[in-house]
């Protein structure tokens, strides 16, 4: 626990202005970071500072402000490339969020490179954002959609996954790296090895995983990796699509407009090099600057310390919640992160969330944008507590103690 020893939780919390807010006179216990994380002072200051001192449109101005802003925005690309250990900064495409990144791949790689009759493999624990784009591709392009099952513990069934490749039709795998409902990590390296052995490419949805673990796209040999800024303590409106350069080069553009062209005439336009080929229009400039600040901030704390802190929190949460009478933790994966879904015998998830909120505790309740997973689990909805870098063991105690009172309330 050397890393954890160096991890000063009080100092970290002090950097999040929102954590000093009171909710109806109670301390805010924010356990909904998997939906969107709170923002540290470094991110807030970077964005406000840019607006106050250094802002103009980028990539086109011939003046000082534009040059400085371009530099700051492009700094985010370097930061993201470093974060993911990408081979080259041109492999980082900025998008609005993970959903847009997946849609970009579904349109450009799906329609541009994949052939009708090929199959896309997803898993049974995907967020809607990694289901619906592939359904749309299927319906528009004649690809097939295959679903790799999960075990009752909430882990990917690897034997069944591998069996999906038997007929040689799979062209692309698109799988979460960490479930937003169950907290399960998927064995990304093995997923990629199996897919590559069968000639398929792999997109990993790292929306949750990147918050908790160091991601090395080259070690994983991932073809595409996507994440969103707002779950990583950055702003909304900015996300990242990592793609191997050769794949991005071969893919047609998705959206057309300014910034993504090399030349335009009425007869024919030619495309800019990657990544700009995929970045039509004025991008989320301030959000890019905020994302860079978030990445720098996370890296300064360091993933070993973050992972150790969150592993300890998750162990504590599983122990405390499992001890609440009538409470069932959903998903028991061996390799899991700081997301814990649960049900309570006497109360529906929405009623749980309303009562918890009265004690200042913010959780998510519902189907978590994963309806097919809920059906697989035989559930309508769950309540979900999710942890961030600023979450304390004492907050988990407040959650568990309040849940005991929730259950009493509904007796």
């Amino acid at each position: 626990m050397n890393d954890a020893a160096a991890f000063d939780l009080a100092a970290i919390r002090a950097q999040f202005p929102i954590l000093s807010q009171k909710i109806r006179g109670k301390d805010l216990v924010f356990l909904d970071s998997a939906a969107s994380a709170q923002k540290p002072r470094a991110v807030i200051d970077a964005m406000v500072g840019a607006m106050e001192t250094q802002y103009a449109n980028i990539h086109r101005g011939l003046h000082w402000m534009s040059e400085r802003t371009t530099e700051a925005y492009e700094g985010a690309r370097d930061a993201a490339a470093r974060l993911l250990n990408a081979a080259d900064r041109s492999e980082i495409v900025f998008v609005r969020n993970s959903t847009e990144a997946i849609n970009l791949v579904a349109h450009s790689y799906g329609r541009g490179i994949m052939k009708p009759g090929q199959a896309v493999v997803i898993s049974a624990m995907e967020h809607h954002s990694n289901i619906v784009p592939w359904q749309m591709l299927r319906d528009a392009h004649g690809t097939e959609l295959r679903v790799a099952p999960i075990t009752d513990a909430g882990e990917l069934d690897m034997a069944a996954y591998e069996a999906l490749f038997a007929d040689g039709k799979v062209g692309l795998v698109a799988i979460t790296h960490m479930s937003n409902v169950l907290g399960s990590y998927t064995p990304a390296e093995r997923i990629v090895q199996i897919a590559h052995a069968h000639g398929a490419k792999v997109l990993l949805d790292g929306s949750q995983a990147i918050v908790h673990r160091r991601i090395d796209v080259r070690a994983l040999d991932a073809d595409f990796y996507v994440f969103t800024g707002h779950k990583l303590y950055g702003p909304t409106g900015i996300g990242v699509l990592y793609g191997k350069r050769a794949l991005l080069d071969a893919m047609p553009p998705w959206m057309g407009g300014g910034d993504m062209i090399s030349s335009v005439s009425y007869e024919k336009s030619t495309w800019a090099q990657v990544p700009h080929k995929f970045e039509a229009g004025t991008p989320a400039i301030l959000e890019g600057i905020g994302l860079k600040a978030a990445i720098d901030w996370v890296e300064a704390i360091g993933y070993p310390a973050i992972a150790a802190h969150e592993a300890a929190l998750t162990d504590h949460a599983l122990a405390r919640l499992s001890a609440v009478e009538g409470l069932t933790v959903i998903g028991r994966a061996q390799d899991r992160g700081g997301v814990v879904s649960f049900t309570l015998d006497r109360a529906h998830a929405h009623d749980i969330a309303t009562l918890l909120d009265r004690n200042g505790v913010a959780v998510r309740a519902g189907h978590h944008c994963a309806e097919p997973l809920m059906r697989r689990l035989g559930l309508e909805s769950t309540a979900r507590a999710s942890f961030g870098i600023y979450t304390t063991p004492a907050e988990i105690d407040v959650l568990a103690d309040t849940l005991i009172k929730v259950r009493e309330f509904f007796k």
């Binding site: 929405h350 519902g366 309806e371 909805s381």
Partner: protein
């Protein structure tokens, strides 16, 4: 800890949410519709039997959701018994005002069965739980198969 929540989770709501009196499909019905709240996953289906004069003779429902949505559906069945489609729509408009604001200056006495839900306006994220069954009922009366509280 939660005593102030008894304004919403009062005895009627808890009783009707857990042991609804009308949560069943009608054996014979003229109209049916489903209601979905896609944001939270709540789902309700209503079945309506009409009298010869077109008024609501009987209503049954099935619901998957929280105490609020089930209790709202159960109380709604009683509020709309014997009402015409037009009366039912007026009642829904009045109930929506009640659910959103807690006020209902010219509420008809017919809305009395819904009054236990008046406190839901203090919980903005839960108002849709209370109105979802009404959306489904109006969709059924209008001959539409589906509705949403979004």
């Amino acid at each position: 800890m939660f005593e102030e929540l008894r304004d919403l989770y009062n005895a009627t709501i808890l009783e009707r949410g857990r042991r609804p009196l009308h949560m069943h499909k009608l054996d014979a019905f003229d109209l049916t519709a489903k209601g979905d709240n896609p944001m939270c996953g709540d789902r309700v289906q209503v079945w309506v039997k009409l009298a010869p004069d077109g008024a609501i003779a009987a209503t049954g429902f099935d619901a998957r959701g929280c105490e609020i949505s089930k209790a709202a559906a159960d109380l709604m069945v009683e509020a709309v018994a014997g009402k015409t489609a037009s009366d039912t729509k007026s009642l829904f408009a009045a109930f929506r005002t009640l659910a959103q604001t807690g006020q209902c200056p010219d509420c008809a006495e017919a809305l009395a069965p819904m009054l236990p839900l008046a406190a839901v306006h203090e919980y903005p994220s839960r108002v849709k739980c209370a109105t979802l069954p009404w959306h489904a009922l109006i969709a059924a009366l209008d001959g539409q198969g589906n509705s949403t509280s979004e």
